[in-house]
Amino acid sequence: MKRVFQLLNEMTRDGAIPNYAIGGAIGAVFYVEPFATQDIDVFVLMETEQAGLVTEIPGWQYLRDHGYTEIRGEAIVVEDWPLQFVPVSNELEEEAYLNAAVQHFEGEPVRVVLAEHLVAIALQTGRLKDFVRAQMFLSQQAVDEDLLLDIINRHGLEQLWAEFQIKGLQ
């Protein structure tokens, strides 16, 4: 895993991507116990056409040029970890990307989405497994609830938050 983070930092330094933020389940492991996943979801800003079509996934050519050519589904495999670039696709994800905090793994700095944004994104995605993930953050006291409520209110997630609470997951 350390090599994956090193590679993302090298890609940023070499200009292959403007920046990145680790999200999804791997991002969550920085705050709570792990989930049954091994995909590394990496938020990146992408160039788009007016229609919103992604014109180019940043970083892929860089990885190929550095010998990473194994594709598994939508991911490119780095040291046996599937690395998945995910486009920032709404204002909430953009805020999460911009506010990602530097954490450290075995001495290697890595930008990780804040716990509060991970929970808000889970609520926005809205599947049962995302609600379960959000519940883990809350039950393990891994979020600042004032910050989370601020995000929920600013991004219009009040209805999903209410639904989450009604389902008794909090």
Partner: protein
């Protein structure tokens, strides 16, 4: 670091996410030995982050986390 602010035209990831979900279903059919190896690797990663998680909880308990850039 040259941070670029996004335009308000965001890409539509719907198709990407449905392909990811399809791949997840394929991966679920892998042999148990492969799944166990993945779980072991993930557990190893998780254990190495124990102190990081504790520090992150402490920061939140002390109200030290701020959202500096708000998009709404």
């Amino acid at each position: 670091m040259s941070e670029k602010t996004a335009t308000k035209t965001y890409p539509d990831p719907t198709e990407l996410y449905s392909r990811k979900e399809a791949q997840r279903k394929i991966e679920a059919k892998r042999p148990v030995s492969e799944k166990m190896a993945a779980v072991t690797r993930l557990r190893d990663f998780e254990r190495k982050l124990d102190d990081v998680r504790k520090a992150n909880r402490a920061k939140r308990a002390a109200k030290q986390v701020k959202i500096k850039i708000k998009t709404r």
